[in-house]
Structures are given as structure tokens and as C-alpha cells.
């Protein structure tokens, strides 16, 4: 059966881009996080939407599962083939199709990476940028948008899924659909005013279709950029501070962080605030707005801005920041995973305290932080735990801490983001049953043979 599958896939993509070998099955069975391995029978790398369609048709015929994968960097094991089948590695579909500078959007293929888009814009449209996550630059735009990622323009533009203008998707049945304006007109400028079908593919962890093209909003790129770090000690004041800092609508990105290392940072709550300006005057004007918004705290001497010499600023202005990836080496063991929970800003103090308590209870190396989404509309609060992948006990400790964190996040009122399998089940437990039932009905309509990333978003 597997040999037949490989041969038939090879007819679609060419044999060079299909493998059922032990090496690929091993590597694609896991990601960098703590979830146990689950190996596919085959890995295939299509180059065109038509090849994706043919793969899906074949999978339907053979009733073999299909798992879409971008860079596989989600960390929560969502690209593992829980029921075997085919991992579709999308990275050969990496073209940047078109940029529309007037309406500020780009159309990319489903495997295009964050880094390549950044480099492309830097070269061809130096006055435009997209919102980069701090994921390593090989992360794909599709993978990130499909999970409602967030990044360096998220205060300005919200979640990355909010910056989506439309998609071309291969449905589990093999039909190719287009959501947003591109489904009606030639342009990829908006999701409105149509019934918003994009939502059928956002947050579904690859269980509803395979995105082969996306239209994504671009933003003006500033000539001058700067960063401030606001430091406080009292977590209870954080919601108000965030609210004030976002109220002036000057920042592009705002990322609180709380880590026990380096020593000077321990016990303090920092908020990195990044913004830009077309002129120095604009930059200074916005800085004054930001500083003015929290003046009261500074005057009361309970918070303040960290003096940052220019060379240090460079580190904080680097996009993406490799610092988070480097956290994986804290235990000298190449591993970390985080619970990122989308939650309301007012839950900041609870989340912070829960994070500290869990880190202490499970004795795990931790880093806590958040990314503000929108003008203080929500945040992605992360609880990251490093582990040594060569030490099974350490991995188990991190895994237990993650599970406890998911529970805590849900109790606080947050929702684990890009939830790993156990967290999906926890979410389903809390979800309104009719809503969950609707999810099931939608999946049944889209995917009658239940081939798309099965095992995810299921009760049992």
C-alpha cells in the first residue's frame, strides 16, 4: 500500500519530491516541542496548486490522511501525522506572486516564507513591509496566518489573520476555492463585503483545506525606527499601563516580557514598545506621546523607561528576533515549547502569577511574555519552558508544565493558541456544545472522507 502510494504521488510531483523513507518518516514525525512522534507514511512536496489538488484527490480515493505543513515550526505538534498518511510539505510553493503597492497587499504562494517576503520587499518595495512574527524566518506566511499568528505590527493591525485579504484553498474534496475579493474580482484587496469564508480555514489546524495562495496586507515602512523599554514591578498595574500606552496609537508592536535571566531583569516586568516615523520629527513626536501616556507612573516613581544605549537598541529592533529561538539552548538541550494563550488584557496579572507558580511547581526553566494585539484589544500571553531533549525527565517536566499551563490559561479566561492535542481537548471541554457540533458538521461537509489532519479538534 505504501509503495503504491509513493509511486502514485511520484507521478504527480515527480519521484524526487516524494519520500516514504525511514529518514523522512522519522524527521516529519515530530516537531521541536514536547508532543510524542507520529509518523506519516509519505512526505510529498508539490510545486503547484494543481499538484496539491491531485494529491488531495488521490488521498480521497485511497482514504489516506493528509497533513499540510509549512515550516513545521508551530511547536505544538500540529503537523504530526496523527493517523499516518501524507504530510504535504508546502515549501516548494514559495513564490511571491504579486505586490500591489497602491492597495498595499502582496499575494504569495502557500509555502512562501516570512524571510523571503521580507527580503523581497526590502529589495523591490523598500517602502513596504509585512508583519513578521518572531518565529524563525523560514516559517511560512500560510502556516502563521492559519494559526492566527501575531507579530511586529500586531498593535497596529491585529492578529495576522486580520491582515488576510483572501485565500486560494484546495478543499479536501479537491475543489479549488477563493475567499475574499479575489473570488469575485482579480484583486486581493479585501475580505469584505462578501460572506467571510476565510474563517473556514483560520484556526482549524489544517483540518479544513490546504491554502495555496494568500493575499496579505502590507504596511508603510518607516525610515526611522525606535524602541523603548518600559519597566514596572507591580503586575496589577500592567493592564492600565498597556491600556495607556496603546491609547496614543503610536506603537506598531508592544511585547511585555518577564524572565529570570539575565539577572538584572529578574522580578521586573518590561514592555518593549516599537514604533517608527517617516521623519525624525515624527519619531520624536510619537516617542513623546508614548512617554506622556505613562507619565503619571513615572512621576510616582513606580515605573520608568530603561535607558537604552543605541547599540543595545539594535538587538531589540531586530526582526525577527532570534532571542526567543535561543531560549531553546537554556538547558543546553535544543528544546522549548510555549503555551501562548489569547486573552483579555485585564488577565495579565493572573497569567503572570500563574506562570511563576507553575514554573516553580514543575521546576522548569521559564520565560514569560506577551504580545499585545490591536490597540489593547487582546494579547497573546506566552509561558515558555525550555527543556533538554536528551533528558526524558526534563522533557516530561516541561510537558507537564505545559499541560498545567493550558489548564490555568483556560481557568483565567484565556484560550490556548495553536493548541496541542491535549489542549484542544481541554478547549472542547469548555466550548459551547452547539458550537463544537457545528464545527463537526462543517468538517463533514468539507471533508466527507475525513482525510484532513484527522485526530485534531476531535473529542476522542
Amino acid at each position: 500500500m505504501t509503495a503504491d502510494l509513493i509511486a502514485r504521488l511520484g507521478k504527480i510531483t515527480g519521484p524526487r519530491y516524494v519520500s516514504g523513507a525511514a529518514e523522512e518518516r522519522y524527521l516529519y514525525s515530530m516537531d521541536q516541542g514536547t508532543m510524542p512522534p507520529a509518523a506519516p507514511d509519505a512526505v510529498v512536496m508539490p510545486k503547484t496548486t494543481e499538484e496539491v489538488r491531485q494529491i488531495v484527490m488521490l488521498a480521497n480515493k485511497l482514504k489516506v490522511p493528509v497533513v499540510p505543513m509549512g515550516a513545521g515550526l508551530v511547536l505544538s505538534g500540529l503537523t504530526r501525522a496523527l493517523k499516518g498518511g501524507i504530510v504535504i510539505d508546502m515549501k516548494r510553493m514559495n513564490r511571491i506572486v504579486t505586490v500591489n503597492p497602491a492597495s498595499r497587499y502582496v499575494v504569495v504562494e502557500g509555502g512562501a516564507s516570512q524571510g523571503m517576503l521580507k527580503a523581497y520587499l526590502d529589495k523591490h518595495h523598500p517602502d513596504l513591509k509585512h508583519s513578521m512574527p518572531d518565529a524563525p524566518p523560514v516559517a511560512t506566511l500560510a502556516g502563521n496566518i492559519c494559526i492566527h499568528g501575531s507579530g511586529h505590527l500586531s498593535v497596529l493591525g491585529g492578529s495576522h489573520s486580520d491582515m488576510l485579504n483572501g485565500m486560494e484553498v484546495v478543499l479536501p474534496s479537491g475543489e479549488i476555492i477563493r475567499t475574499g475579493s479575489c473570488g469575485v474580482s482579480g484583486g486581493w484587496f479585501s475580505r469584505a463585503p462578501l460572506p467571510d469564508l476565510s474563517g473556514l480555514f483560520l484556526g482549524w489546524s489544517g483540518t479544513t483545506g490546504i491554502v495555496t495562495r494568500l493575499g496579505i496586507k502590507l504596511f508603510p515602512k518607516y525610515r526611522y525606527n525606535d524602541v523603548l523599554i518600559f519597566v514596572a514591578e507591580d503586575p496589577d498595574l500592567m493592564p492600565d499601563m498597556i491600556s495607556r500606552l496603546t491609547s496614543v496609537q503610536a506603537a506598531e508592536d508592544m511585547t511585555p516580557w518577564m524572565t529570570p535571566k539575565p539577572d538584572w531583569a529578574r522580578g521586573f516586568l518590561h514592555i518593549n514598545i516599537a514604533w517608527g516615523g517617516h521623519t525624525k520629527k515624527e519619531l520624536i513626536f510619537k516617542r513623546n506621546l508614548l512617554q506622556g501616556s505613562v507619565r503619571e507612573y513615572i512621576d510616582r516613581k513606580i515605573a520608568g523607561f530603561l535607558p537604552l544605549p543605541p547599540p543595545q537598541k539594535g538587538r531589540f529592533l531586530k526582526i525577527p528576533s532570534p532571542d526567543l529561538a535561543r531560549f531553546a539552548d537554556l538547558r543546553r538541550g535544543g528544546g522549548f515549547e510555549y503555551v501562548g494563550a489569547i486573552m483579555a488584557i485585564e488577565h495579565f496579572p493572573d497569567a503572570y502569577r500563574a506562570g511563576l507558580a507553575i514554573a516553580e511547581k514543575f521546576n522548569v526553566a521559564y520565560s514569560l511574555g506577551a504580545r499585545i494585539i490591536g490597540a489593547g484589544h487582546a494579547m497573546m500571553f506566552f509561558f515558555a519552558y525550555a527543556f533538554n531533549r536528551a533528558d526524558p525527565e526534563d522533557v516530561k517536566r516541561a510537558s507537564d508544565a505545559l499541560e498545567a499551563t493550558n489548564t490555568a490559561a483556560l481557568e483565567i479566561g484565556g484560550i490556548p493558541w495553536k493548541a496541542e492535542l491535549p489542549a484542544q481537548k481541554q478547549i472542547i471541554e469548555k466550548m459551547d456544545p452547539d458550537t463544537f457540533a457545528l464545527m463537526g458538521r462543517i468538517r463533514a461537509v468539507l471533508d466527507p472522507n475525513h482525510i484532513m489532519n484527522p485526530g485534531n479538534w476531535e473529542k476522542d
Binding site: 524527521l27 527580503a119 526590502d122 539552548d329 531533549r389
Partner: protein, 391 residues
Amino acid sequence: MEHAEILHRCFRCGYCKLPGNYADINCPAYLAYCFETYAPGGRMWLLRAWLDNKIEAGSRFAEIMFSCTACGNCVAQCAFPEFRDRLLLAFTAGREALLDAGTAPPSVRDWLTRIQNHGNAYGKPAKKSLEWADGLEIDVFDGQEYALFVDDTGIHEPRGREIARAVATLLTTAGISFGIIGKPCFSDGNDVKAMGETALFESLAEKNISIFNALNIGKIITLSPHSYNVLKNDYPALGGQYQVFHYTQVLAFAMGRLPLSADRPGLTVALHDPCYLGRHNADYASARMVLQALPGVTMVEMDRNRADALCCGGGGGNFFTDLLSGGDDTPARSRAREAAAAGAQILAVACPLCAIMLEDAVKSENLDKTISVREISEIVEGRMDLQGNAR
């Protein structure tokens, strides 16, 4: 296996797949095959899995491991400064362990056997090793300032010979005091070392060192960046202490002595930085200095240049073992497209292996009407006043 202790520290984050500006995939093996297994992080995890008996070292495993061109992009780009310098050492150690276990792709085995038996990668008799210079009026080394060391490709491959002859002619014209080594030398051992065949490397190096030392050679000019790298960095530990130069490094300061013609048509040139001159030895200047000294030459840069340059795919022995060929995205073909996109008429190379790899790629891409690949020595030669009137 040496360096085994860093394998599990790789996070498989993939910074190493890209150049510093993220423009495109920059690990040649990963570019050619796209499977995660071929990326540096995949190699790290697979080696760990092999050592942990989670997977066996079969033929695909060996092909993956030996397909690394030792280009050093991963070392330059890995996000983890604490162990990135050891990545390539770990890959080499992995190959050494595979060779010890008797698991190497047939093309690797055959290539190593040829070198073992004949002292060169082409399996040619030693007596042919001076033929490349036939008809050139160059002296044999006998106490001149420099000895010229020509690698296997320069000696035995017709295209390599053309380049070797161009370099020797230029050095002569520039009045450099040099001689060719009159005794047959052995393979420089650079790529043998990168492939993990340490014992063979040492034996080759020791044989060359005894030839160099017997001739009292102090300064060496190499044709190939591969030779430059190994002679400069690895021979000293085996008793071979020389001042080593790639020919562009000598030429860069002798351009003023060449009879360059001022009336040649303008030429737009992009330089393909060779890995063993660039990333491995941080010389991005010499080749550019030579090109910039040519009247009428305008340099353009490809997206991936200097420390970000994409390997042609011929490094680390792959020129001979050919584990990256086939497919549209071989590194050489990708590079040919990139050079054409940069608007270059000439893709300049400073290495005989790069020349051959990229010439083939330009043809495969049907770009031969748009761009041609030329070794720097040939570009310079072509812009000299053949009457020999010094400027």
C-alpha cells in the same frame, strides 16, 4: 562520534537554511531536495537518531549525509553562537563514522578509492600532472618567491587546464616570481577531509608536505580556493607551514602591472564568491579588487553575495560525487538564474570547480545567450592588450 554532544542542542529552527538577508534557501543540499532531512537541522537530528539506534544508516541516510557541500552557510547563520562553529565539524565526524561503518554512497566510495589508488580524483597517472603547462614558458620551482599549486581539476580536467593556464599566464605577465612544482603532487585533500576520510587526507597532505619541504617552498599560490583553504588551515598541523595565497590575492596587488586595454566594450559582471575563499576564509575583497581594476567592468551583486553567497554545489567533494544533480533547483542552476536576474552579462568565478558547475547550469537553464560564466583569470586575460604594451 566527535561532537556528538552538540547534536541534540540543535533546535531545528532553520536559520541555517537561509542567508543573512533571508533572500532564498542557501543550504545547497536542502535547496536541491527540499526535504527537512537535507537541511542542517535535519542532519543534526538524524545523526542523533542514528547514534541512539532510532534509525539505521541505510543508503538514503548516507546520501543525505554525504550531500552536504561543506559550504559553511549553516555555520555562518546558525542562531546559536555556542555551538554553531562545530556544525560542520559534526557533519564531517558523522561522515567519518559512516565511512568507518562501511556506509557511503557508491559515488563517494569510488571517488575516494580513485584518490587512494592514484593520488588524484581522476584516477590519472602521476606522470600526466605537468601536462597542463605544456607549451607555456613557465619555470619549474627552484627558489622563486612562490610555488604554484594546481589542484586535480586544473591538472586533469580540460576546462580546469584552460583556467590553470590562464592563471599561470597572468602571473607571468604580472612579473610574479613563481615556479610550478616540478614533481607530481597529490590531491590537496581538502574535499577528502570534508568527506570525513581523515586518514586519507592526512596521508595526501603529508606526501605533499614532504614534496614542498624538500623543495624548500615558503610561499604557495593556489589555483583553487579548496587548495588554498586546506594548505592554509590544515597543513600546518601536519608540519606544513607556508604562506598560502589564492591567486586572486596575489593578482589583486599586481593588477597595475598588467597591460590592460582601456578600449574594450563595457561588461557587467557578478562575482560568485567561492565558499573556500569567502565564508571559510573571509576574503570577499581580493576577487572584487581584481575585477574592479578592469577598465570597462561594472560590478553588480547578486542577492546572495559575500558571506551570504550560495555554494555552486561542487564543494565538499560533491563536484566529483554528484549527489545534488537532477531537479530544477540544484544550487548551480539557482545561482545561474540569480546571476541573470542581477543583470550580469558575465558570472565571474574564482575556482575551476565553480566554473564547470556553473557553466553546465547556465546551459541547463538555457541562459547561455544571456550570461556566460568566466573564470576571473580568463576575464582579465581577455581584457589585456595582447601586444603586451604595459600601461
